[in-house]
Symmetry: C2
Subunit: 138 residues, 2 copies
Amino acid sequence: MEAINFRPIGYIHSPFKTKEGSPRQSIHTPEVEAIIDIKPEFSAGLLNLELYSHIIVLFHFHLSPGYDLVVERPRGDRPGPRGVFSTRSPNRPNGIGLSIVELVKIEGARLRIRGVDMLDGTPVLDIKPYDSGLNPAP
Amino acid sequence: MEAINFRPIGYIHSPFKTKEGSPRQSIHTPEVEAIIDIKPEFSAGLLNLELYSHIIVLFHFHLSPGYDLVVERPRGDRPGPRGVFSTRSPNRPNGIGLSIVELVKIEGARLRIRGVDMLDGTPVLDIKPYDSGLNPAP
């Protein structure tokens, strides 16, 4: 099996301590603030990130126990059953989560962000600038 | 070092055969079509994906040679130097790419997509539904 290996660039500190208490999508928690602490060896990668008001955070669903390819009762408006790739379920073959959050402030290697649905302790895999001009308008 | 291991759920077949010939962002190639072939063991995860006109594709920058934390001359409008996390550079600590593409058609485990900037042979890590209602309006 062809393996692709990543390692965390940092960790999230959020008010959501358990899966049961966390929201499903960050759009539902526009006011919730959290912290991303970037590891010292990656902090130079934050240079001038404050040019952007919003960032894309890719993270690891580190507490997910595994996955089902078909989700019988997905959350949200659209009915099930649906394949896992048409859902935002954290239980997916490669457990990568994606949130678009507001970048409130950068203090050294610490990012203060707003609009958060990630669990406390979540490993961060990547940060990308969010630029709505890069999105299509479906 | 805490490692996180993923494996491809499938591969992209695109007209871009070399890094030099590929575009920087899929927004610049709205008419370019490509194929994602999902591995048979994951194809059940595609059920009802056609509910969505656009999908988010997470993929591996498999040809990137490594990374620099600071990008002296990033592409795009905004000047450098910038930290890699404020760029879309493929040369990043965890080489995860993100494209939002139009889902043209699903034929079994094969997705026909449009608006593509990925290289031919790119390993796909995840597919998520794209719903513009989940994005903030910065």
